[in-house]
């Protein structure tokens, strides 16, 4: 994974992706309080602009290269060897695009949960600041820069949950902030130790540059393991991996809808992405060494999340627990160390963002109509709102992983890719697929089927604005499900060069399936 400095164009695309939303937030902050409607307009314009730029990056992305593209590098804090170093490769590309698309949809799709339009202004400002932070995290190729963005996203999210959330919002927001910060505390020390130990082992100078550290420094096995664990704690909290997940249901349930969409859609991926980008790339030996731990926790998360989701009475909490299960699959694929599994993981990161984002959006719509999220109080919605129910069905089936929709491709790749290297874990994880069908279909049955009672008889049908918001989600769900090739061929080169890097450093040989060649073009339906 060598830095391919293919910045053919002088336009600093990636820096703009970070600064445009931040500038939008600044403009909104400086606007007059009497005209709150302009805040939404500015938020919309800047987030759509960012989305368009991310699509432009997707279009100009060289799908044959495994290295970093659109690289932008400037010295920032030279005294400490820190630079403003951004770049995308196949692993981060789709996460960046997902971020670019999810924010405008979250802004259009649903209004903040409050009755005072004067409070819209800070809401949109925080949302845009969050977008800048998330973008920055996915783009950073400098450990310091990454840490800055990784930490900075906590602040807007804290205020979004705390300011526009539901009844238990302050508790949830504080828990979210402190949990993540504990993880970051270990990561900060680990980052610094990495840098100083790298200076003594091969680099000879202080630099926070990810590529220089990964390619130039070598760590003794025991040192690398400690450093890796420091990073891993931070990412494991963020994902969240099983015993550290307790902040997630609270944060998700109490967050305003747009907050949940963004939290599930992109923020959790900071953890899984961090494992790939920083964990595996910087410390391949330690990642290999600890894989049994992560595989086991991933499988526990899959089963535990699914069972817990089955028990939930609150629709939003159910979706939150389903996230724990889905993210288990992503971790499983990451630590299986095969090209297929990791490609599947990356794809599943995007899929989960799309389908869970859409689920949270629709749960938010239900709450707007009925002012309840309790499954027991909803009944027979399919009869009164068939289009709404149909949209929900597609999204739900994608989340279950039904063939022909996006969720299937990712999950399938993870499972088949992991089978060679982590057979018994896969066997247990596969039952999670069935459990997913159980809790989602059961919930669907209770909410949408049956005779609507008096409270639910007036359930309004999907509105135009909501339908147009959901359309891109459903479009992506069906398109990637039917034709995943364009996505996979952009992810694979980067994943392959990551695995090559791991092989070089650890002597690990990726097992090849004997005669079974999985052709991803026809992957579904087999």
């Amino acid at each position: 994974m060598v830095a391919a400095a293919t910045s053919a164009m002088s336009f600093p695309l990636l820096s703009v992706l970070v600064f445009l939303p931040a500038a939008g937030a600044l403009i909104i902050t400086m606007q007059s309080r009497r005209r709150p409607e302009y805040a939404k307009l500015v938020a919309l314009l800047t987030s759509v602009g960012t989305g368009a730029l991310s699509l432009w990056a997707l279009r100009n992305f060289d799908s044959h290269s495994g290295g970093f593209q659109f690289v932008s590098r400037h010295p920032w804090i030279e005294s400490w060897g820190i630079s403003w170093h951004l770049g995308i490769d196949g692993i981060s590309l789709f996460l960046v695009v997902l971020t670019g698309l999810l924010f405008p949809l979250a802004i259009v799709g649903i209004d903040p949960h409050n009755d005072d339009p004067g409070r819209d202004k800070p809401y949109f400002a925080w949302l845009l600041l969050l977008e800048a932070g998330v973008m920055g995290s996915f783009l950073s190729l400098d450990l310091f820069l990454f840490f800055v963005f990784f930490e900075i996203v906590l602040v807007p999210m804290y205020f979004l949950i705390g300011g526009w959330g539901y009844e238990g919002r302050v508790y949830a927001a504080t828990k979210f902030f402190l949990y993540t910060m504990v993880g970051s505390a270990f990561m900060l020390v680990s980052i610094l130790a990495t840098v100083f130990i790298a200076r003594a082992n091969g680099l000879g100078r202080i630099t926070f540059d990810l590529i220089e550290l990964a390619e130039g420094a070598s760590f003794a096995a025991s040192t690398g393991r400690w450093l890796f664990m420091g990073f891993a704690v931070a990412f494991a909290v963020k994902v969240p991996i099983f015993p550290l997940h307790t902040w997630l249901p609270d944060a998700h349930t109490q967050a305003p809808t747009a907050g949940s969409v963004v939290l599930a859609g992109v923020m959790l991926k900071l953890g899984t992405y961090g494992f790939l980008r920083f964990g595996l790339y910087l410390f391949p030996e330690a990642a290999r060494w600890s894989r049994a731990l992560w595989l086991t926790l991933a499988v526990i998360g899959i089963i535990y999340g699914a069972i817990a989701a089955t028990m939930q009475k609150d629709l939003k909490r159910l979706v939150a627990y389903s996230s724990v299960a889905h993210l288990g699959f992503i971790i499983l694929g990451t630590f299986a160390f095969t090209s297929q599994a990791i490609t599947g993981s990356v794809m599943q990161m995007v899929n989960h963002g799309v389908s869970t984002g859409a689920l949270f959006l629709m749960v938010g719509m239900i709450y707007e109509r009925r002012h309840t999220r309790q499954i027991a109080e909803l009944r027979g919605i399919q009869q009164v709102a068939p289009v709404f129910a149909a949209a929900f069905t597609v999204v739900m089936l994608s989340s279950i992983g039904v063939p022909g929709l996006n969720g299937f491709v990712g999950e399938y790749l993870v499972l088949i890719g992991s089978f060679l290297t982590a057979r018994w874990w896969v066997v247990i994880a596969a039952t999670g697929v069935i459990l997913a069908a159980l809790y989602l279909l059961w919930a669907y049955q209770r909410v949408f089927h049956g005779e609507p009672d008096d409270d639910n008889r007036s359930f309004p049908e999907l509105r135009w604005r909501e339908g147009l918001t959901l359309l891109p989600f459903i479009g992506v769900i069906v398109f990637t499900g039917v034709y995943p090739k364009p996505m996979l061929e952009r992810i694979e080169p980067a994943v392959n060069s990551l695995i090559e890097h791991v092989s070089e450093r650890t002597g690990y040989v990726e097992p090849q399936p004997a005669a079974v060649e999985i052709d991803v073009d026809h992957g579904e339906g087999e």
Partner: protein, 499 residues
């Protein structure tokens, strides 16, 4: 033999002279003229500090050409270490003068005396930071402390302020005695009170001839005195009471200038004068640091008064700075000593501005709630005064060490040095303590932003000068957070201290 006075480099002393002169002129002219209107006392104080700061910048430049040396027969150090701390002290003093105006006029205590005391106390702090002679350091310490005792009790009509002054005086007197006794023992062990001569004594004296017991006892007593002044656990018990009782502007001064001077003095004593005993004092610093971090953060969380919270959080910050002192201790006295001293000094300067900003907001809020700075008084501040709430949020986030604020740069600096010296345990403890402390800042922010303003609550009156001070502090906090490189590269030379 006739007495030969030491050579005096008046230019190098000009920042001190400007402050002393300013204080005397303010006092005399203020006494002879009718009451000045429109915050003119505060502006005069700011003018004096700015003059002194400009002179200090010239001195800084001069040191770049001629290198560090000593002044007045070795009494004061002429190095960038001293000038950097001086600049931090002057900046904080100017900000405190600005926020004092509103507070003094509201309590009808306005007059030149407070400002003259601020200026002289600041001179004491500057002398402490620059002392190259332990007796001179003690004189600086006493000048600072006596000023602070009076300032703490300066709100004459409020019993809390009197109590605070009295408490600080009694306990501070104790600490000064420890400090002085420490100097005496060190003198017994090394036959000098001059830092330069102490260093030479260690370099030239064979181990068997040394009286280590006296030196070690002296170091221990000096540490007690200094730990009291920086309010490190277990010598911190005075600080919450004194911080709470003293007028908020004075508290801001104590927490910024007092702390900066005491830490600078600690570095002078430990890192500059006693690198030969670094393996003896470093474990003590380690313990003080860990205790301050943990106890400060945990006790801060359970407070209900914002000024007390900030007092305990300043204990926790002292712990952070001690982490830097510990890191500086690993290779103290060597040619390649690391950047621990720089990290500590940068932390002091940045924290000084932050804490004045925080207490400035507390001053404004407290004044509209009959002097109460309980958490309830802050409820719904964002609805009444959004700009003030935003500034407070910037200061609190910076104190929590959130990126893109100066607090992050400060924390990163000391943790970086600790990790570079392989003090991993203390680095991790410090970061976890920062998480606990973050909960405290979140509590204040919850109150400010997420709670509703009580019905009929009037918006706080923000005096113009306070608004200027808060704005300056907030802009500085963000500017350093986003672009710290200028400060870091400018301060790289502070470790080249005079000996």
């Amino acid at each position: 033999m006739p007495f030969v006075g030491p050579e005096v480099d008046w230019f190098a002393l000009s920042p001190y002279l400007a402050m002393v002169g300013g204080a005397i002129v303010l006092m005399v002219v203020g006494a002879l003229t009718p009451r000045w209107r429109g915050g003119m006392y505060a502006w005069a104080t700011v003018a004096v500090t700015v003059t002194s700061a400009v002179l200090a910048l010239f001195v800084w430049d001069d040191i770049g050409d001629s290198g560090p040396s000593t002044l007045v027969g070795g009494a004061l150090a002429h190095d960038r270490f001293a000038v950097l701390v001086t600049l931090g002290i002057l900046g904080a003093t100017a900000l405190v003068a600005l926020i004092s105006d509103g507070e003094l006029r509201a309590t009808s205590n306005d007059g030149p005396e407070i400002y003259a005391l601020l200026l002289t106390a600041a001179v004491g702090a500057m002398v402490m930071a620059a002392a190259n002679e332990l007796i001179v350091m003690f004189l600086g310490l006493e000048t600072l402390s006596l000023g602070l005792y009076v300032l703490a009790a300066s709100d004459r009509r409020r019993a809390g302020s009197q109590e605070s002054g009295m408490k600080y005086f009694v306990l501070g007197g104790f600490a000064s005695a420890f400090f002085l006794y420490g100097i005496a023992l060190l003198y017994g062990g090394t036959r000098s009170t001059s830092i330069s001569e102490i260093i030479v004594w260690f370099q030239t004296t064979v181990t068997v001839e040394r009286n280590d017991a006296l030196v070690l006892a002296g170091v221990a007593l000096l540490l007690v005195g200094l730990a009291f002044k920086v309010s490190a656990v277990p010598f911190h018990v005075w600080s919450p009471d004194v911080y709470q009782g003293a007028p908020s502007n004075v508290t801001a001064f104590m927490a910024s200038v007092g702390k900066a001077a005491a830490f600078a003095a600690m570095l002078r004593v430990l890192v500059v004068a006693l690198p030969f005993h670094r393996d003896d004092w470093r474990p003590a610093i380690w313990v003080l640091a860990v205790l301050s971090l943990v106890v400060g953060s945990v006790l801060a969380v359970v407070q209900t008064d914002v000024k007390r919270m900030l007092a305990y959080s300043s204990v926790s910050h002292a712990g952070f700075i001690l982490v830097g002192v510990e890191a500086a201790g690993h290779r103290a006295g060597e040619a390649d000593a690391g950047a621990g001293v720089q990290a500590v000094l940068v932390y002091l300067v940045l924290y000084g501005v932050l804490v004045v900003g925080s207490f400035a907001v507390a001053t404004v809020v407290g004044r509209s709630h009959d002097g109460s700075t309980g958490l309830d008084s802050f409820a719904g501040l964002a609805q009444r005064r959004p700009a003030l709430a935003l500034a407070l949020t910037v200061f609190l986030l910076a104190q929590a060490g959130v990126p893109l604020t100066s607090g992050f740069v400060a924390k990163w600096g000391v943790i970086q040095e600790a990790v570079a010296e392989r003090s991993y345990a203390i680095a991790i403890i410090a970061m976890l303590a920062a998480v606990i402390a973050a909960f405290l800042y979140l509590r204040i922010m919850v109150s400010v932003w997420l709670q509703d303003s009580p019905d009929g609550a009037e918006a706080e009156r923000v005096p113009g000068l306070t608004a200027i001070a808060v704005t300056l502090a907030a802009v500085f906090t963000l500017a350093v957070g986003v672009w710290p490189d200028w400060l870091l590269s400018a301060t790289e030379s502070v470790a080249a201290y005079a000996r």
